[in-house]
């Protein structure tokens, strides 16, 4: 996209808020809303036979509808008289605002005893009805069918991925009770969220509540939303990110594509209408790009070989939540950039308030997103000469300052494990595919840049340089900046646990929507030839596309099907295990849903007694919790060896804070445990010797509790036969 002089001339051009642009926004809203409905239904179905209160699911769904639909309805109404939507009235910023408002509503729910969850949900549902009705009225029947089909596909895929791993599952509590066959990451996040909820301190709460630097924004958000939904944090971790944030993300992605497309319409009024006015819902190439960037065109095993991890988006809720904000910010930036006026007060508001706020938010949600957003911002300011303007200079300095402070607060030193060239590629890409790593990993960015360069007709490097200087490829530059800045950390530094992907993967979510925005234009150009009628006029390239579409379509279905199969196997497997514990032969997969049998089986699950005792503690009033710590003696092997894999001994203590909402006292793993330095564990002193009998006395416990600022200790004590008691010691 052009900047500088070209931009100012195009600002008032029509198209940015025309019918197609409005329809694109509506489509993004409806897609996200219906996806949320579908996922909520799947969640509910997957819990049939177990305790399955409708309220939590309904409120979470309502929250999603609120965040997705209210901004759409409001923005359309507020901008109804504007050719170019005002950025402060744009759907993107209203979306961000709704996320913040819903979190605020959650934050006041417990202190004020006013839970706005249901009213918000009703508001969301009402706005959804309005938006849906309007969308149906302005859409063509074929588009409705296409979107409906895509929704089925995406619902299946998202549900399969999100609930087909051990990270999240609608039966998380039940799975935890059955030999803790879950991943420890959710326990870590839930511990953080519970500590913030009960003690107001971001901490894993393994031995008191020392501050744990981490991008704990999503944990905080989830704990607020959990309050609105009226469930514990651990339950919400399997429900909220999938039913609420995943649809918001996909809606934001479509919205960003729509805003970019609207900007192009404004930028290139001279383009053929057929190539540029087509809304996204009728643009099959855009949908193809959307599916390709998310589900993938090639088998997921091959994507994994190139370290393109489609699952991570839905597994890491901090990344997902951060991306929601990031992509909405990108959409907002497009609207602001193409709608701004020089020396306007709006620029000051945007640069001095919105940008710092968004950067800080991103930093607390996912530090990688903040850094990449900052890089894109600074590149924009530097490249366009805006640094000479006082507001932008001040805004840039402010952005740098708040980013630096946020980085200090949230970055985990232990994650940086030193300079190791090509570390991410060497450890996470299949060695045999290394030569193709850059091409595959940065595919969407390279595709966008290559096609834009081609579109601008730049035969030589001189022409390319001239185009860059003229700002004709500024959009591609931004993509390149995000791609390069995101790529470098993982190839330079050893970032623990493959987290470098949260840098290098971001470019995909910038480039893919941009590809969606311009895909129709490129395809239209390719097909712009003299045509004859009839079968003979079918182009061979069309035949080739159709032929290629067959395996690609099959693969998309296969990728989605594999995910669904994983979730189904996990759900059915657990049900069968409970039937087995209950001594009842399991019926077919679809029939293992007898509440009595499942309840009986759950109660006989190996860790049920301990987990239910811990879970009961979460119901204690937060005022009481605030002065209480939980103590689990080292002798309780059921607790300390809850994970069957010895190498996971570091994570066993997290079960306590995650399930009870209480921080532990003296909760470090045994001295024999090879404790990890990750997951904020360096905030605690390592256990150097075995716990003695003296350590277990009430006096000793109270002394330790008082030292950490607490006055009450609850002890988790085995009562035999798999049962537990939780006597409290008042210090």
């Amino acid at each position: 996209m052009q900047v500088g002089r070209d931009v100012s001339s195009a600002v008032n051009a029509p198209g940015a808020n025309g019918p197609a642009a409005r329809l694109d926004r509506l489509t993004s809203t409806v897609f996200g809303s219906l996806l949320s409905c579908g996922l909520a239904a799947v969640y509910f179905v997957l819990r049939i036979g177990f305790a399955n209160p409708v309220r939590a699911v309904a409120v979470t769904l309502g929250l999603a509808l609120f965040v997705i639909c209210i901004p759409s309805a409001l923005s359309e109404w507020l901008n109804r008289r504007h050719d170019t939507p005002k950025w402060w009235l744009s759907q993107s910023i209203l979306g961000l605002l709704c996320i913040a408002l819903s979190a605020l509503a959650g934050a006041i729910a417990y202190p004020t005893h006013v839970n706005l969850g249901v009213p918000i949900a009703i508001t969301g549902a009402a706005s959804f009805v309005v938006v849906l009705t309007r969308w149906i009225r302005v859409s063509r029947a074929i588009s409705l069918l296409v979107v409906a089909g895509l929704l089925v596909l995406f619902t299946a895929w998202v549900a399969g991925i999100a609930w087909g791993t051990r990270y999240k599952t609608p039966l998380f509590w039940e799975q935890l009770s059955d030999r803790a066959n879950v991943h420890h990451d959710p326990l870590y996040y839930a511990s953080m969220a519970n500590s913030m909820r009960a003690y107001g301190v971001p901490s894993t709460g393994l031995d008191g509540v020392p501050y744990t630097p981490y991008h704990y924004g999503s944990a905080w958000l989830n704990s607020q939303w959990a309050d609105l939904a009226g469930v514990d944090v651990l339950t919400f971790y399997s429900l909220g990110p999938t039913v609420l944030m995943a649809p918001v993300f996909f809606a934001a992605l479509l919205l960003f594509a729509g805003e970019a497309k609207a900007a192009w319409r404004k930028q290139r009024p001279y383009e053929e209408p057929a190539s540029i006015s087509k809304p996204i819902q009728e643009d099959w190439v855009a949908w193809l790009a959307f599916i390709g960037a998310t589900i993938g065109f090639i088998p997921s095993t091959a994507l994994d070989a190139l370290a393109v991890w489609n699952r991570h988006l839905l597994i890491s809720e901090s990344y997902l939540t951060g991306l929601c904000v990031f992509v909405l910010s990108a959409g907002l930036s497009v609207v602001w950039w193409f709608g701004r006026k020089e020396n306007a007060k709006g620029n000051a508001l945007f640069m001095l308030l919105i940008v710092p706020f968004l950067l800080v938010s991103l930093g607390f949600l996912k530090v990688s997103l903040m850094l990449l957003a900052l890089a894109a911002l600074l590149w924009t300011i530097l490249r366009t000469g805006l640094l000479r303007t006082r507001i932008f200079l001040t805004g840039s300095i402010l952005a740098l300052a708040v980013s630096a402070v946020t980085f200090k607060l949230v970055s985990v030193a232990a994650q940086n494990q030193g300079i190791v060239p090509f570390n991410f590629m060497r450890h996470y890409a299949d060695g045999r595919w290394w030569p193709y790593f850059i091409l595959g990993h940065l595919f969407w960015s390279l595709l966008y840049i290559a096609l834009r360069v081609r579109e601008e007709k730049l035969p030589t490097l001189s022409d390319l340089v001239a185009a860059l200087r003229a700002g004709r490829l500024f959009d591609a530059e931004i993509v390149a900046v995000v791609a390069v800045c995101g790529f470098i950390p993982g190839e330079l530094i050893d970032i623990h646990g493959g987290s470098a992907v949260y840098f290098s993967d971001v470019q995909r979510w910038v480039a893919a929507p941009l590809v969606m925005a311009v895909a129709a234009r490129w395809i239209w150009r390719l097909s712009r030839v003299d045509r004859r009628s009839g079968l003979a006029s079918i182009r061979l390239s069309t035949v080739a596309v159709v032929l290629i579409a067959i395996p690609v379509g099959t693969t998309i279905l296969f990728n989605a099907g594999r995910a669904v199969r994983g979730a189904e196997l996990m759900n059915v497997g657990l049900r069968k295990a409970f039937y087995s514990y209950a001594g009842v032969e399991a019926p077919g997969a679809a029939h293992a849903r007898d509440p009595h049998v499942l309840a009986a089986g759950l109660q006989k699950a190996p860790d049920y007694g301990m987990i239910s005792a811990l879970r009961a503690l979460d119901a204690e009033p937060r005022e009481l919790k605030r002065k209480t710590l939980l103590f689990v003696p080292q002798s309780d092997s059921a607790f300390w060896n809850i994970f069957s894999e010895p190498e996971r001994c570091s994570f066993a203590p997290m079960v306590g804070p995650a399930t009870s909402g209480l921080a532990l006292l003296d909760g470090m793993p045994p001295a024999s445990c090879d404790r990890t330095d990750q997951y904020g564990l360096t905030a605690y002193a390592r256990r150097t010797k075995p716990q003695t009998l003296e350590d277990l006395t009430s006096a000793a416990l109270c002394a330790k509790a008082r030292k950490r600022g607490f006055r009450r200790v609850i002890v988790l004590e085995p009562a035999g036969n798999g049962r537990y008691t939780t006597p409290a010691i008042d210090c």
């Binding site: 299949d430 045999r432 030569p435 182009r539 061979l540 693969t555």
Partner: protein
Amino acid sequence: MVDAGVRRFAGSPDTRTLVVLAGIVSATIAAVYWVLRIGFDNPTGPILETLELALFLLAFPVVLRTALIRAIGDREPRWWASHPFLWLVTIGSTGLIGRAVPIIGNSAVILELVGLVFFTLILVTWLYEQGLWRSLSYIAGSIAFGVWTAGVVWGRIYKNPLYFETFIATGKVHHDTLNLAATGNMLRTYHVATTGIDGLNYVPYHWGSAWLFAQWANLIGIDVLKFYQLSFPVIVIPFFFGCIVALAIFLRNRRRDEGSDPTRLSGTFWAVFIAIAVGIAPIAGLDAMGVWTSNIMISESYTIAVPAALLFAAVVVNWADGLSVKTNSLAESKLGWIDMLFLIALIPAGIVLLGYLKISLMALAFAAIVYLGWRLRLYRRIPFLAAILITTVVFYLTYKQVSLPAHREGFVPLDYLSDFVPPPWWPFFLFVHLAWTWIYTIYRLRRENIHDLGELGTAVKERRIIDVELIVTLALIGVVPGLIIHIDGGSAFYFSDVQRWLAGAMLLSWIAFAGTRLWPARSPDAHPGIGGWPTRRLLTALLFIAAVGSIISNAVRWPLIMLRQNVAIREQLYQIAGYPVSTGRIRNFVNLRDPAILATGLRKSPNYAMATALALLQATPSPVRRREALFVPQSDNHYWTSLARPAECSFQSFVGPALAGIAMVDGMPAVGCKLSKYYGIGSFSPRVASQQPAETSDAALCVRAKAIGATRVISMRFPGDSVVRRDISCKSGAT
């Protein structure tokens, strides 16, 4: 300066390049063989003789063609003077000469001398015209390619310069090679196509390559098992790749505009050639699509049948070109008696010979003939129709002779996919497995400016893209067997992979000199300096880096495996000799070449006495061996368990015929052994009861020996480290 008279006999520049590069590949493979055997019995004689025979096969047809062209002129295409035909004739002739060795003695030295002189002649001419840097880069490239091919052929357990030693030390060798060596030996000794595991029952199999190799083994004077390890790679692999290039050159020369096109093969040509051979996708990705880069060198029948088929195709095209010169239409051409002979004798004979080399090649060649007969409407003329009918009949008869009944296992949908392609990749199978066919198709359609179905239909009607039709047809036909029937051991690959080499050669023929460039050229009026570089170079560079990286990664993989295996067997022998080393590191090779220690290790190895005693039997002159039979009693546990890989009991019987070159009597595996259906084992009666003492009596053995025309039975046992041999004369009782 090279004398013009010398150059007159050294072929055209492109064929000279072909001969020189193939010769260097051959020499490189021979050198690698020698290096890998350092420290073992390693006479240079057989290696040099093999190399000289390879050079003869490469150089002689070129010199012969040049001489013929000088004699008769080259205004019209003459198939019998074409390079492909002369090459085929040379191959066949050496086979016949080898067959005559037992009768007239070994005159191979003449061939070898001729090969050396002709190759030197071509090499000198080539060096003179290439210039220093071009020559050096070609030579370096050929050496690298030779090392890669050596790695592929010796990086698996099928073939190995230390195959015999590996069998002695560990018994962990692949049975395929024993089966083929047994067949070759039986053809060499008894002139019967059989594995000789229990008499000389005919085994229907495409044993043409085994026959040819047995004759070449006669020429070189080595045993068949050694021929498979040494001579096959040195002679046949350069022949394989040489023929791809030869076909490309031949096809290109049909279209070449004399005087306007350069005669040097372009860099793009070689880049695409390497991409076809080595693969631009990682081996893991190729394997996932059932595109096996190593199999072309594992299956020696395939390695020789593909180039033979390509040369045969070139001969047929050359013949058709000669006919069409005046009428521009094969269907309306005037047929002379030589043409009639070609039609009704040579084409069917070619099909038969292909059937004996590799049944899949015969089937595809037959399909090509039928398709072209239909598309060019040749069936309307009686000579062509007669040729098609005769070809059909001989195809059927040959099929009956060479097709193993056990391989006809009925309808099994998607069998090849199920067995060898991971399910997520199934949707892409046809695209990637037949990639070179599609690339060729797209290239040709673009070249013909065909953009839509209408233009495609017109081009088909006008027969402008008959080459595309043919390759697509063959590709689809080739892929069908693996998708509908079960062919043991992934052999469906030998149907579906053929298109890669044909399409590859056809593609190379178009880009050979046509100015096709992978690296975008700068425009003449572009800005000077780096600013004038085409923007596309950036993207091309990215793709190049990936592709070159992948090619290098693929190329080093097999040689490294080959070296590791070599080091592993050396370490094993050192261990047995009492010098334990176990590093597994390639660089340890230099420390593991003490002849005394390796010899001690071999002597102390479990199969040493048995293997050497059996191999010694090959020293007996062939006419004498023909009157002998080998017997190893079932009680000899050592022999019947000498192969150490799991579930090998079926293949133990091959050891005797493969090592000794003598057929066994009563040599079927024990009763409890679950016999393989394949490898021709079904041609022999399975053992239904344990061997009884009466069956091992001299009289009983002589009855069996006489049934195959033998007059002496060599009964051998291998208790412990010793060998107990007893010769039973079937003329006068026990001796």
